[in-house]
Amino acid sequence: MATVTKQKSDVVLDYLRPGKKFPSVWCPGCGNGIVMGALIRAIDKLGWDRDNIAMVSGIGCSSRLPIYLDVHTLHSTHGRALPFATGIKFAKPGMKVIVVTGDGDALAIGGNHFIHACRRNIDITAILINNNIYGMTGGQGSPTTPAEKISTTTPFGNVEKQFDPCQLAIGAGASYVARTTVYHTPHMEKMLLAALEHKGFSLVEAVSNCHTYFGRLNRQGDAVAMLNLFKENSVMKGKASKMTDEELKGKWVLGTLHEHEATEFCDEYQKLVDAQMSKRG
């Protein structure tokens, strides 16, 4: 632990990549920046060697996040961040591997990789920035766009059902699952810290604002108005457990939603390697 307390902003600046041009690609007020700040502070608390961190993303506004950080970064193809990350982690199990993805990236085009990464319980932390819409391509519906909400491809209201990313991850075998929002930044930092420290596959769903598309199309106002919505409509897990389904309708339940101990993929494979190699002598 560092003895001198650094200013929060100093910490963030310290992790930003020298030479990478700013401003960022994000709209002013986009929640992606809040997640980036919280992630940096969580990593800084852990004191990890930057040269030992690989951050992998897919395609989308959210997936631009790693580009700004001074670690090893891989901006991959749409939906495929997890298999790219799996290759890195499996090749170099000593590395800390973090995936940043969006609701479209992780749950639509990348849905199959998502459930299989959970199932394998490979030691990767995935941060799913859920803004309920495709931001990068201009506001189309995603697998988490709520019923009746408007997007550019659901102009008369969404008639589809939604994925709950956390329930999906729990069902598929992830060993740590948490939800937070961009309004609750200290909470987000705590959830990220727990996920990064967890051995096995961990998911943090960060509910976020795309005021530019989701907010505008659904008359939810600007970034601040949307953050207020997150504040008003969130319930911590403890309190939620005492509420009825009816009371929880339309609310985000926040906190560590699931945690269990399970063997990790790379560790198990290493045992197999050790056994085979000792047989050979």
């Binding site: 040269d51 580009i67 991959s76 290759g87 990789h113 190699m277």
Partner: protein
């Protein structure tokens, strides 16, 4: 060599042996006939040498994991066939633009679609050149025997490491599944090339630097050089760009780092061409029939020769023009409806007659079929 290891094995397994000989340590794949034995072989052999095998959820994930592992510093490969090769194309494009060395073995079967899963074909020849969207130069090689499965796999890994690029090995079902006795080379007998790593300090190194031979030294993740990798068209720092003065050099680099070194990449087998008036041109399993047909026709006094292409892409055009200079006719044998023949038509002078012998019913080309064609064109 006196006590050279002789072994009876399948072509697919000879590829696994060749990959291990090259220092490959990582395989990710998804089962598909007729390539599955390569995955199975890797799952058995890799743990014994401290390597890693993973069966992914599909071929998209397989090639993604292979790219990730290569960027992390391990020589990596995958193996598949038609439908899986099609699924890999987007991420293969990613490997081209990010200049990531890796090897993909495509044990070809009949297509399109599920096609003829257990039958031989050479109908992915053009896909190996033009599969991913966009502009780039591609390398593909094709063995024709079990022994060559080993040597061409070693060569494919060397080319991928030397040029920082994905390399496709075009096997076909017959080569992948036929068994033969091969002699396994001793360590040091075949050249094994490892990617050049940066030596300057991290502050000085540009991850996509323009070097004299256009291949940028490549550090692995975790080796002290923190860098960014993206499928967006990027500058020498690895960051995306929309500037013409950075886009031109990047795409030129993808082309020229390979096309300027064709001589290093081209490989052909030339038999009986000194006085040949007619030449068989082929690759993969068809070359075995062509060699036999050449021998039979020579016995009958026909001045015929045989050219086998080991390097398919970049197409060895200069070599073919030279070798065929004194021919009046060539016969191109392929297990498809005509793919490499278009390249041959493009590169040979107009006064050479070009004839095709094509088969696309999932059966092998026989020497008799080539001899019949020879008779017809003489």
């Amino acid at each position: 060599m006196a006590n050279k290891k002789k072994k009876l094995m399948q072509g697919n397994m000879a590829c696994v042996e060749g990959a291990i000989y090259s220092g490959m340590q990582f395989f990710a794949g998804y089962p598909i006939t007729p390539s599955t034995e390569i995955a199975e072989g890797c799952s058995r052999e890799l743990p014994k040498i401290g390597g890693r095998f993973i069966q992914m959820e599909d071929e998209i994930g397989s090639i993604a994991a292979v790219i990730g592992a290569s960027i992390a510093g391990m020589k990596s490969f995958t193996a598949t066939s038609g439908p899986g090769y099609s699924l890999m194309q987007e991420n293969l494009g990613y490997a081209f633009i990010t200049e990531t060395p890796l090897v993909v073995i495509n044990v070809q079967r009949g297509g399109p679609s599920t096609g003829l899963p257990t039958k031989v074909s050479q109908s992915d020849t053009m896909q190996a050149r033009w599969g991913p969207h966009g502009d780039y130069a591609a390398i593909a090689v094709a063995p024709s025997t079990v022994q060559e499965c080993h040597t061409e796999t070693v060569r494919a890994f060397n080319l991928s490491e030397r040029f920082r690029t994905p390399v496709t090995i075009l096997l076909d079902e017959v080569i992948g599944h036929s068994r033969g006795v091969i002699s396994l080379p001793e360590k040091g007998e075949l050249e094994v090339y490892n990617r050049v790593k940066p030596t300057a300090s991290p502050e000085e190194v540009l991850p996509f630097e323009m070097t004299p031979n256009l291949v940028s030294p490549m550090a692995g993740y975790g080796e002290g050089y923190r860098f960014h990798v993206t499928g967006l068209t990027h500058d020498v720092h690895g960051f995306s760009t929309n500037r013409s003065d950075e886009i031109f050099p990047k795409l030129d680099k993808l082309h020229n780092k390979i096309l300027n070194y064709r001589d290093e990449i081209s490989k052909l087998r030339i038999e009986n061409m000194d006085d040949a008036e007619v030449a068989f041109i082929s690759y993969g399993s068809v070359s075995r029939a062509a060699l036999q047909a050449t021998a039979i026709a020579r016995e009958a006094g026909v001045k015929v020769g045989c050219i086998q292409l080991y390097t398919i892409w970049p197409f060895p055009e200069k070599e073919l023009r030279q070798i065929c200079a004194n021919c009046s006719k060539v016969i191109v044998g392929e297990l498809n409806m005509g793919q490499i023949i278009h390249e041959i038509e493009r590169v040979l002078p107009g006064d050479i007659e070009i004839h095709a012998k094509q088969r696309y019913d999932g059966e092998i080309m026989t020497p008799m079929q080539l001899l019949e064609k020879l008779e017809e064109v003489l």
